[in-house]
Symmetry: C2
Subunit: 382 residues, 2 copies
């Protein structure tokens, strides 16, 4: 159909030629994958039969373009599609929507990597602190960060604050809420955050340390602004966001509202993981997307623990977190899940110094007091 108010010249002026590329893997022969990719160029943008669009600038500038294909073997093809920057605008959720909105529902398509132009990195600038900023904030140099979690769910704020105090006395760098702590009657958000933050501050004053307490803010939007404000007011050292529960955009929002570092947690995100039938490739899901969204630290399940990621997948996450991305700062990968003292050395070897080693249960159940165990954790890294 013809549109009375459509002006080809106006749209061409708005489309600056700036864009981003998404690298997909598609199952099939080269011919089949090309057919799928052609449909994706439409599905991810205009979602309208391309032959019926009587607007040349939309045909030329809004539809995705297939930029590169490669046979990867094993019945999979690489397909790169370039999209105009303007299809995403300045909303991070809409960027994700162009990357994998409707195509997420199709089988046998995997998002491997997103490549933003330099000018798009100004719109989506990534983390505010990154590895270097965190080192400066916490005074941690030449070693990985030590990281633990307050647990278990069911304890009152006083007991969780006591844990935080003991860990901070032991010199741990980062303490987060367990991701299951939100605003339960036995440990309401306000009381927990006020008391844990005060306990860590007291310990820092005693030791001269810089332990950061990082509450979980992955709750209802109804209370989001007040909780973020409380975290900032209490002098928390960061906030934790689970994008699977509250959306990737909340990472950047929380960073902006609090001015604090943000920890990304993988809860409820795992369903998106490519397990061979399409989805988001592990390094992209747990490494690149959190970084693009503005997280300073990304928590993910380490290989060899109770989760199922492979060593190669974890190496991929590490690389996506730390590789040179121009203006977008490198972030700390934070392998977690079943970590014990025995693994500290090998994990440092594998992940390098730019990592936050997250030991939860292992720190609480090892012989010795919690404070001694935190000291030992730190000692193993010096």
């Amino acid at each position: 159909m013809k549109f009375k108010y459509y002006n080809d010249g106006d749209l061409r002026r708005q489309l600056t030629g700036d864009g981003f590329t998404v690298i997909y893997r598609v199952r099939g022969t080269e011919k089949e994958a090309l057919e799928v990719a052609k449909n994706m160029c439409v599905e991810q943008t205009v979602e309208f039969p391309a032959a019926h669009i009587e607007c040349p600038a939309i045909q030329d500038g809004i539809l995705g373009d297939i930029d590169y294909t490669e046979d990867l073997g094993d019945g999979w093809q690489r397909v790169d599609i370039v999209y105009a920057a303007q299809t995403a605008g300045e909303d991070f959720p809409q960027l994700l929507n162009v990357i994998f909105g409707n195509s997420s529902i199709l089988p046998d398509i995997t998002v491997e990597r997103v490549c933003l132009s330099e000018s798009m990195k100004k719109t989506f600038p990534g983390p505010k602190f990154g590895v270097q900023g965190l080192r400066e904030r916490l005074g941690v140099y030449g070693r990985p960060f030590t990281f633990t979690a307050l647990k278990p769910m069911g304890l009152p704020p006083e007991a969780l604050a006591e844990e935080a105090y003991r860990c901070a006395l032991g010199g741990i760098d980062l303490i987060k809420d367990d991701h299951g702590l939100m605003d339960q009657p036995f440990a309401p958000f306000r009381e927990r955050v006020e008391q844990a933050a005060a306990a860590v501050r007291r310990a820092n004053e005693e030791t001269g340390g810089h332990t950061a307490y990082i509450p979980n803010v992955s709750g209802s939007f109804r209370h989001m602004d007040e909780r973020l404000q409380l975290a900032a007011d209490c002098g928390c050292g960061g906030v934790m966001v689970a994008p699977g529960l509250v959306g990737f955009d909340l990472i950047g929002y929380a960073a902006e509202k609090t001015g604090l570092p943000v920890v990304c947690h993988p809860a409820f995100l795992g369903g998106n993981l490519d397990r061979g039938q399409g989805g988001i490739a592990c390094p992209c899901l747990f490494g690149q997307l959190p970084r693009l969204a503005g997280a300073d630290i990304t928590v993910f399940p380490n290989f060899g623990g109770r989760f199922s990621l492979s060593e190669a997948q974890c190496a991929g996450i590490r690389n996506m977190a730390s590789e040179d991305q121009g203006a977008i700062r490198a972030i700390l990968p934070s392998p977690a899940g079943g970590m014990t003292f025995e693994k500290v050395g090998p994990m440092r070897e594998f992940y390098g110094n730019d990592t936050a080693l997250l030991m939860g249960g292992g720190l609480f159940t090892a012989p010795g007091t919690l404070t001694e165990n935190c000291q030992r954790f730190l000692h193993e890294l010096q």
Copy 2:
């Protein structure tokens, strides 16, 4: 470890015995699945070695309980786990977190269904309107709702508003933004919503109809409140939320802030779909979770179109949207994707009258004007 401030009696008083059950499918023999389920009871709650929790009330009341198991054949077991209502508290994201937070990362676990107690349905009351409320708002009785989308991306607000006007003149019930329309330079949110809402209002005044215009609000949280307010101020007939992009909780938040019906869109949600290796079962993902979160209409890809859902999966979504759930209102399933006039009759037969048939491209590309095609769409259902 012992906790100085822990009081078993306090926690027991807070745990009222109220709870919810999640029905999972787990791959393995009965013995293997039981082992997985035992770990899930811990993983989804305390995330702490159960043997080391020296707090009886946490052991008794916070950890999940395996309630039922059944061999489903083909190497899969059904496992029902009961969780205390207090583990979720009153935050919808935390309810999702207990249902499938960390377990989403494990392979071969599928969420089939969530069963809330009657008292939890007061905390999570579902949609405000539901099928009956929408019928009363729009004056639609004895037939399915007709539904279309403004497209394609790249048109200016004036052209999209013109489309909306033509569709409303033709008596269509529901008009949503295409899910790719957010806040792009060629059609900024404010201008688009103001103009489309005004165009639909003008058509309604001319025809005496009740067409609802439903803008997409699945953008950045930075602008969420102002966009929701604008939608309400412009007299929109609802708002559309893609929980894959902005989280399921935003559905209830948008409903509360605007007082309007909410349409759930599946963009970026498909990665979570169980494709035989774990995830969220299709009827739960596209039917039950949107309903629990408070959506009045849930859009999903119809079988036989360009997406891959089966007839059985779509029947499952329909059933989850409409089955008796006590205080939680039934909602409209809205099958979409490649719908044409030829499918109107068979789809009505399959989905029944309590459905919103979403025809996008098919309505725009059929012979006849847009207004005529909307009239024909309606006519086919009378």
